[in-house]
């Protein structure tokens, strides 16, 4: 069962990357974003490794990502990453982050990192990525 997200209480989620990650127009399509979060794509355009930062279970924004990006339940998500490691398709799973503060800090210091935070937690030091040309709050933004 894919986790349900309470649309009334869940705020939009912003995709943030390390400040030196170069992405054309700071924009990814939803499929490109999905390929990164699924570790089908593990390198940025300059061949640097992508480091995926994911909030620990119970964070509402994690539920939103599991619903909209992965389309998986929490159990299936864990099985997915164990399977990826078992198949030698990845060297490790996502880095688990235990708070929004911690994620905000890590995404600014780990080269090649990408993560997600509630839009109200985005600070001026974070580089926010558009999805299909849209920012959090825009009509049609997939992580609203």
């Amino acid at each position: 069962m894919v986790p349900t997200v309470d649309a009334q209480t869940m705020e939009a989620v912003a995709i943030v990357v390390h400040p030196e990650v170069a992405i054309d127009d700071d924009n990814l399509t939803l499929d490109q974003l999905r390929s990164i979060f699924l570790a089908e794509r593990q390198h940025w355009g300059d061949r640097s490794r992508i480091t995926l930062l994911v909030r620990a279970a119970m964070a509402p924004e994690r539920d939103l990502i599991l619903t909209e990006i992965y389309g998986m339940s929490e159990d299936r998500y864990r099985q997915y990453w164990i399977g990826k490691m078992f198949r030698s398709e990845v060297a490790s799973g996502p880095k688990i982050v235990f708070s929004t503060d911690m994620l905000r800090d890590l995404v600014t210091v780990i080269p090649g990192s990408i993560g997600f935070v509630p839009v109200s937690e985005v600070g001026p030091d974070l580089k926010v990525i558009r999805i299909d040309g849209m920012l959090p709050g825009d009509e049609g933004y997939p992580l609203n």
Binding site: E40, E74, D75, M85, V97, M102, D105, L106
Partner: protein
């Protein structure tokens, strides 16, 4: 920057977070463990009772930012001992998503199941693998020693990916990989292409070609070619896995093309919704058909028909309980009924 140093300190001390974008000072080792415990009731003589299945340890170590070591060792219960096997040991260099190259011992990239689940019994829905790629399979060479290039094109709409390998192929015992060298005068090679569209998570469609020269039971040399297709929708509701392989063996000096042998399976599973989501019933139909003109497989009595019906129950994230009924016919034997009960688990750590 709020709480920055505290966050970084916690990150540095936490096993869950490392500065993975940077080369570590020492190799970071992550580990997975798989195991299973079984009870079997069957018409087959001498097979009933409790049995410990395979215990498998899998490690991954970052040697540096682009070199990674993958290793896997299994312990398998035998009648009078445990056998220890190095299932996989390889070093990989990642140039980019499109090109990674490895050297070592791998799961042969033929079809889907052999690389997707193999010794990771907890990962698969059923108790055991299909007959065509079972433990010690002689129909499909399950392990491969040599070089493997692989990659994917994640920006392509269909998620095109490939694996191309060259290696020793089968050993003199065709159930084994040539760990200590090639037993004949021609290397084996394998090429697999697959599509994994990002818009349908879990879907993979692929085709494989494998070529080797091997020794037939009469010690004559034969050229082996395997043509395989697979379609996998590897998800919970529904799960659909299907593979087909056509294997030919032509004498190196002889009459040319001979009839090939075939193996296939189709498995369907469906995790129940809502309050019953821990339960996943499944069914599998499978067959191996060896032609009498196949001088390599025919003496090995590999013909097989089987129907498998079971239920997987997940009481927790890392434990699976299964009850499975099998109705099978092995070559030269009467039809048999078997009932398996299994607990399988995965351990994770870093």
């Amino acid at each position: 920057m709020r709480g920055s140093w505290l966050g970084i300190l916690v990150a540095a001390l936490s096993p869950a977070v490392g500065l993975a974008g940077q080369a570590p000072d020492d190799p970071r080792i992550r580990a997975l463990g798989f195991g299973d415990f079984n009870y079997l009731v069957t018409d087959l003589d001498g097979k009933e009772g409790f049995r410990i299945g395979q215990m498998v340890g899998h490690v991954i170590a970052d040697i540096d930012e682009r070199f990674t070591f993958f290793g896997e060792v299994s312990l398998t219960a035998k009648d009078d001992k445990y056998s220890i096997e190095v299932e996989r040991a390889s070093v990989r260099y990642d140039f980019a998503d499109e090109f990674k190259i490895s050297a070592g011992r791998f799961h042969t990239p033929v079809g889907y199941w052999n690389t997707a689940f193999h010794h990771g019994s907890w990962l698969q829905t059923s108790v055991a693998r299909p007959e065509m790629i079972k433990f010690g399979s002689r129909f499909i060479p399950t392990h491969f020693v040599g070089l493997l290039a692989e990659g994917g094109f994640p920006t392509s709409p269909l998620g095109l990916g490939y694996s191309v390998g060259i290696g020793n192929g089968r050993a003199a015992n065709i159930a084994r990989a040539g760990d200590a060298g090639d037993v004949n005068d021609r290397p084996a090679w394998v090429a697999r292409v697959r599509l994994r569209p990002i818009s349908i998570v879990g879907l993979e469609v692929g085709a494989t070609f494998y070529s080797d020269r091997l020794l037939a039971p009469d010690l004559s040399k034969a050229n082996e070619r395997i043509y395989a297709l697979h379609v996998a929708l590897d998800r919970d509701a529904p799960e659909i896995l299907a593979e087909y392989a056509h294997v030919t063996h032509d004498p190196v000096t002889g009459s040319g093309d001979l009839p090939g042998s075939d193996g296939y399976y189709i498995q369907f599973g469906y995790r129940l919704p809502a309050a019953y989501r821990s339960v996943k019933p499944y069914v599998r139909v499978e067959q191996v058909v060896v032609q009498s003109g196949d001088d390599v497989f025919f003496p090995l009595a590999l013909n097989y028909d089987g129907v498998v019906v079971g239920v997987r129950y997940d009481p927790g994230v890392f434990l699976a309980l299964r009850v499975e009924y099998r109705y099978e016919q092995f070559e030269g034997m009467a039809k048999t009924n078997s009932l398996y009960a299994q607990a399988s688990f995965v351990l994770t750590g870093s």
